[in-house]
Symmetry: C2
Subunit: 441 residues, 2 copies
Amino acid sequence: MAAPATTAAATASYPKVSTKHISLPTNHHLNLGFLSQNPIRIRPLSRSCSRPPMRVLATSATAPVIETGNSSSSVVPTIVDVDLGDRSYPIYIGSGLLNQPDLLQRHIHGKRVLVVTNTTVAPLYLDKVVSALTVGNPDVTVENVILPDGEKYKDMDTLMKVFDKAIESRLDRRCTFVALGGGVIGDMCGYAAASFLRGVNFIQIPTTVMAQVDSSVGGKTGINHRLGKNLIGAFYQPQCVLIDTNTLNTLPDRELASGLAEVIKYGLIRDAPFFEWQEKNMQALISRDPDAFTYAIKRSCENKAEVVSQDEKESGLRATLNLGHTFGHAIETSYGYGHWLHGEAVAAGTVMAVDMSYRLGWIDESIVERVNNILKLANLPTSPPEMMTVDMFKSVMAVDKKVADGLLRLILLKGPLGSCVFTGDYDRIALDETLHAFCKS
Amino acid sequence: MAAPATTAAATASYPKVSTKHISLPTNHHLNLGFLSQNPIRIRPLSRSCSRPPMRVLATSATAPVIETGNSSSSVVPTIVDVDLGDRSYPIYIGSGLLNQPDLLQRHIHGKRVLVVTNTTVAPLYLDKVVSALTVGNPDVTVENVILPDGEKYKDMDTLMKVFDKAIESRLDRRCTFVALGGGVIGDMCGYAAASFLRGVNFIQIPTTVMAQVDSSVGGKTGINHRLGKNLIGAFYQPQCVLIDTNTLNTLPDRELASGLAEVIKYGLIRDAPFFEWQEKNMQALISRDPDAFTYAIKRSCENKAEVVSQDEKESGLRATLNLGHTFGHAIETSYGYGHWLHGEAVAAGTVMAVDMSYRLGWIDESIVERVNNILKLANLPTSPPEMMTVDMFKSVMAVDKKVADGLLRLILLKGPLGSCVFTGDYDRIALDETLHAFCKS
């Protein structure tokens, strides 16, 4: 049992730097009351990271000064480990982590870095990330490629821009790709890293709730095809995931809510106490309470890490993370990217999956109500767009990745809150009834 | 020590079929005199394959009749194992193996197959392969996609045709992709299989010497970028490689010679006795002596399998398989695909690498002469095209995958015949001298 992160004083100095010893302020920004619910996967940074935070400002007045923001920049990150043998990696979570260059720099192996980001995120965080990569580290050079923002650009044409930039910059096998942005950027940058020279290192710096609680963790990468989402891609794990919760300060409300759809999912499929916590704290999340968010992200990453560690390539268990996604993908594909956000489609898809579970007699009506209520509290939709038809759903669902030998398998709730199944063994009539209940034609 | 393959009578019947027992003719087509040079990796098919060859013709007169060709269709395949832990797979080598449906069918896991081939190979072998996949196996359905033939089509646009076909055919994760053709088809189909739904099964059926002795084995897949070869791809291993040496009967002379460049490579980098065998038997290979070819393919695959087993992801040793390829890729990229075949460029590149090794004082002059002589015997070029300039070489070599942190590493011969190094530690003057010796400007 590790003690709460803040009780470990991170005062050991990093061997390479060394001349000055800094005493660090204790962390006064993380409310760790939540941690007692799931303390065993928390460990203090000092266990694996002997370099003190903010070393750069302390050791070199001539080095580029990194914006300190508020005093939370001295936070000791929470670390969640994704255990995948020789592909294991840490997720660092905390506010102001982009002000701790050593966190990123320890995961850069060569001298060349390509930051992949988009037109929305670049003006906000690109300079900060470039500083974090290069300060005190003059041998490293950083290129960047700024892609258009939006799910509709998650395609082969946009991906080729990443390859073009990498090749024109003469990056080699020892380079590192850094994904700076939301889920679309992470998925595309990851797939580009998996494919460039048959695989180079990459790092995820997710800047949306959606990416921080879900898509940046677990190594699913890829792009969309005009006929369906994520049909082309790779399982490819990053070197680390760095979640600076301060990046959420610039996130639009609708994007924030979208990410909460995935947070709610973890509670429904495997973590009833987390769902109950959300029922009590959804208002705090919507109003961006930093402590509530840190906890929700940590708990989500722990759930995801646990599932991915047991089933990296989605032979079974991992598919349960797709609750609501089969219906949701059909909405995104049919309605057109750019109208609804991913989490909005997943929210409506979750209501449909829950409805179907209830029609099958697999869950109590109370769960249906609680799901509807919590999604409403999170400002998320509880039914698909009006233009959706039964045929639209069926047509996209037929090419879902979870179809095996022609049979569509779905994630459905079964039993008490926090229990689900991934199965093709269900009554087709229930699926038809659900589709007709949510579509006018 | 396994006995030679032909002495094991493959008379055990396959459990599922079974009513008839056929006594098989002993193999009288494989001259196994060569095998004594490297017998330990040979094993008779009966060790892992209990179904007798030609079962189909014997058990069902109404099943589609597979062309038997000559009596070599009853050959017991030579098997070379590629040992990669849970990604291990067999290479089957023999004449008429496409007449043995069980060899392919045992590696098909789902009910759907996509054969990826090209406009040259499809008229020759597509029907035969479809029969081999489906005869006695009515549950399996086979789609195909026929791509234009040639290295210049090994690009993203052509790759997308494979994804389009797979998605329009609603193939799912349990499908199998089959690469039927030369190296270009194998590389593209393999990368498509690696990426479709984040990875599906695939099988290699190489139909050129180049693919049979090199590119189909070891899991390197990918496509070209306009700035260089194979810059986008994946390491992705097939379920099996099936080499029917009869397919070489339809191979043009120039393609045949091109493949021999890779055969010669194995001798130079790690197998002096094989090189000496080639010096004595090159005429037999050029005149397509089947026994000589079976041996050359087997020995090449053994060499490749051994290297790949030790270094799947090319962290060092595996790079030695690229002798001559860095110079060769520069020729292919600068001269334009379609003018020279891959092996022709590799042959000229090998001469340049050998020249440079000699300039460095790392090998005897006799090796330089022997390399020139054997390439001439194989009807391969021994110098680059006249249009190549020093700058063209340098420009392409700068984006080679073997560049690390800006330093170009090369495969060079060092020591007695059959010894090489992969190194960035060489005198740049020797490289410059070699480039100037082979270029007019």
